[in-house]
Amino acid sequence: MLESFALSIVDGPLNIWIVSTYWLWPVLEIIHFTGLSLLLGGLIIIDLRIVGHFRTLSPVVTHKFLPAVLVGFGLNFITGVLFFYGDPLRYAVNIGFQIKMLLVVLAGLNALLYYWKINPLVHSWNSNTESPRIAKFVGYTSLSLWTAVLLCGRLIPYVGTG
């Protein structure tokens, strides 16, 4: 499915524009690295609080870093799509890319869990509140998945088709 989609966009206008604009790739990479810093920076603060660290901080307040996470994700989604359009045949069959995308989807599902199950709870938390199991699960899962996303992403140029 991914391969046939990749084949369908090769030599399309977006593909040709990305390939022929010679300074574009490094600019996209710089934006992608900035985005991942915003994403992880915000998540570290939010997730470490919900798993029970920095209890003097209100989780309602650490939640305010969510816009950084969303902006970072948005930047990386856009630049990521452009990377894919720029070199679709390589990405589509790359095992590092495939695992990375799977992990991003899992991280997205985990984020829904945060939104539905954790965020409604935290309003009543104070510095003595023990983090419930589900909050620890969601927080550590988020940090682990995004770390794995970074690792897989950086390995894309070095791994093959698996």
Partner: protein, 160 residues
């Protein structure tokens, strides 16, 4: 003379392992990006908070969070040095690399300055911290330095 030291470094067993083993270089690069996310992630959140974004979070939080940024910095010091050894003579002549290292050094110095200013400004008040203009200016400079470090770091692969 200088060249010799870096060429010698390239020929150490560790450098040869990094450069020639199948997984040495890619694994170190992968860890390096995790460290980058921790360091730049936390410091940029701190700087943006000091500049007035994400209001509500007490800036005191960053005194503790900065310690975690230091963990990221240590990861990247180690992985960065190992990556450096494999092409030491090349890197040492790379302008983007030298700019990157300068930005990181300045960024870490400013992290220390911000840390001590936060402590000072927190000691002066009770909870409700007013961030001084000077601290905000330092935060803005710090944010630009980390951004520049990312830009220069990426350009190492493109500008020789």
């Amino acid at each position: 003379m200088e060249q010799n030291i870096f060429t010698q470094l390239e020929n150490t067993p560790v450098a040869i392992w990094v450069g020639e083993s199948l997984w040495g270089y890619p694994l170190l690069l992968s860890l390096h990006v995790v460290g980058l996310a921790i360091v730049v992630g936390i410091f940029s959140m701190r700087d943006m908070r000091l500049l007035g974004l994400f209001s509500g979070l007490q800036p005191v939080a960053f005194i503790a969070l900065s310690k975690l940024a230091w963990v990221g910095f240590i990861i990247n010091g180690i992985t960065g040095f190992l990556l450096f050894t494999s092409q030491a003579a090349t890197f040492v002549n790379s302008t983007p690399f030298l700019i990157k290292i300068s930005c990181i050094t300045a960024g870490m110095v400013l992290a220390g300055v911000i840390q001590s200013r936060l402590r000072g400004e927190l000691a002066d008040s009770n909870g409700d911290v007013k961030i001084s203009k000077a601290t905000q200016l330092i935060a803005l400079l710090s944010l630009s330095l980390w951004m520049s470090a990312i830009i220069a770091g990426r350009l190492i692969a493109y500008i020789f």
